[in-house]
């Protein structure tokens, strides 16, 4: 009998639809066990998707903030108009500064009010405005912001200087811990999902151990036996990703809408830019984990079977 080793892959591809159909049938017939795997994978997917969306928004936010080349220097109370004007022109005279202008506390109050969209009334504050006068200036290059801000802060008339990158630094310091925890949680969840899928498929296999044995006896190669199980894992992974996406997309759109109303000055990432990438990633992750689960679960039972 002649043997053509390269033929095996050809057989596998040729039988691809057959093996896929077998895998789908097996998935359907497993009922409860598939449900367990699906649910776990679903939770993992939601966390992955939700986390990713939150991360992308955070990055968008920080980019927006950091990119602002605007610096606000809050002035001490009690400065005379002349002192304020002198300060403005000296800062405007700096080579890195593009322009500088004064913002009186009244103007600052009005800006704040409009930022809140008229929801909050500041009428009672008009007598003694708690806001300081400020000097807003822009630098030419974003990377010069820190240096100029530091220099301006040392001026005695200036009480405090705030700029975008600084706000970002503070934000990151605050959220750093949270982000690390989230990353660890995501990895743990992925591992859990993988284990659950592996065990689900393995339970199936234990139940079908005799079938696999018979398949081996009639000469099936490892991949021929493994194929349907891999498909089963992939179906579970893809299905969980799809359901998770179906939940995540409307929830996110809804939440984004509400945030825009409540916190209008908060720059949110455009959902149309964020969501497609996230959904694709969820699908890829689901399929990858499902595939890995399918392969790994069968491994133990196919130890002596050649893969050809």
């Amino acid at each position: 009998m002649r043997v053509f080793p390269g033929r095996e892959l050809g057989h596998l591809l040729h039988n691809g639809t057959y093996l896929a159909a077998e895998g789908w049938t097996a998935f359907r017939r497993n009922g409860l066990m598939s449900l367990a795997a699906l649910t776990t994978a679903l939770v993992m997917q939601l966390t992955l998707g939700g986390g990713l969306v939150a991360f992308l928004n955070l990055r968008h936010l920080t980019d927006q903030i950091e990119g602002r080349v605007e610096v606000v220097a809050f002035l001490r109370d009690g400065l005379s108009p002349r002192a304020r004007a002198a300060l403005r022109s000296s800062i405007a005279g700096l080579p890195q500064v593009a322009e500088a202008r004064l913002v009186s506390k009244e103007v600052a109050l009005r800006r704040l009010q409009s930022a809140f969209g008229g929801r909050v009334s500041f009428a009672d504050l008009l007598q003694a405005i708690p806001l300081p006068d400020s000097l807003v200036f822009r630098v030419h290059e974003p990377r010069e912001v820190r240096a100029v801000a530091e220099a301006v802060r040392r001026i005695p008339e200036v009480e405090e200087v705030v700029f975008g990158a600084q706000a970002v630094d503070r934000l990151f310091a605050l959220t750093g811990g949270v982000r690390h925890i989230a990353a660890v949680a995501a990895v743990v969840l992925a591992a859990v999902a993988l284990v659950v899928i592996i065990n689900t498929v393995r339970l199936t296999i234990i139940a079908r151990r005799e079938e696999i044995e018979i398949m081996r006896l009639v000469g099936a190669t490892a991949w021929f036996i493994r194929g349907p199980f891999v498909v089963e894992g992939v179906v579970a992974g893809a299905l969980s990703a799809t359901v998770a996406a179906a939940v995540l997309v409307p929830v996110y759109l809804n939440a984004a809408g509400r945030i825009r109303v409540l916190l209008p000055f908060l720059p949110l990432a455009d959902p149309r830019a964020v969501l497609p990438g996230v959904v694709v990633l969820m699908l890829v992750a689901g399929v990858a984990v499902g595939c890995a689960g399918g392969v790994l679960s069968v491994r133990r039972f196919l130890r002596d079977t050649p893969a050809a």
Binding site: M1, V3, P5, R7, G10, H11, H14, N15, Y18, E210, E211, I214, M215, R216, L217, V218, G219, A220, T221, F224, T305, P306, A307, A308
Partner: protein
Amino acid sequence: MLRRAAQAPRAAARQGPAILFEDVAKRYPAGVEALRGVTLRIDPGEFVFIVGPTGAGKSTLLRLIYRDEVPTRGRVVVNGWDTARLPAALLPHLRRSVGIVFQDFKLLPRKTVSENIEFVLRVTGVPREEIPARVQVVLEQVGLLHRASAFPSQISGGEQQRVSVARALANRPPILLADEPTGNLDPSTSWEIIQLLSAINLHGTTVVVATHNNTLVDILRRRVVQVADGTVVRDELRGLYAHEA
């Protein structure tokens, strides 16, 4: 029962023995010595009964042929392949060249009769278009075409065994092994199965049947290889189950 429209097995005009045992010994890891030096030659087209009590080594002998085990000493050559030296990648090919029929039928329970046969054809890469015809041919050979859509649980033991034989034949292997094929069957069904195997042999397939059914062996009077205590104690053509005094 076997219709005239039969297939000739592949490589029918093969040079050399179909099965060759050269001073083969098999000791299992637990220390059990199943075979203690067996030399045996079976040529293509032969019909051989392997007889002996349970535990004599019959099953081990068969397992060495389809390479479920390898010998601890000596050589086993099947269809020209030294089983111990066979590269892992070629094992499925060896298995496909040896059709096996078991005492407990070993049909895939979740598949219908025709799907069971279809499975082995798919495994060996038979083109999709050819499969239905091939399935039909072997089912006709064993007389079970009318049961093609039934599940194993829905047919009798004798019918299941016949499906098993059909499956073993599907790839037209040069060798057909049967390990106690009538063990779970009543006498008349057993006789039908043995007749089926005999007819298959007439068409050129080498058939090796391990059995302790003395009646059948005595009726057919084919070559008998008697195994006792791990060795071949008797090997005669046209033999009886028990040695004639």
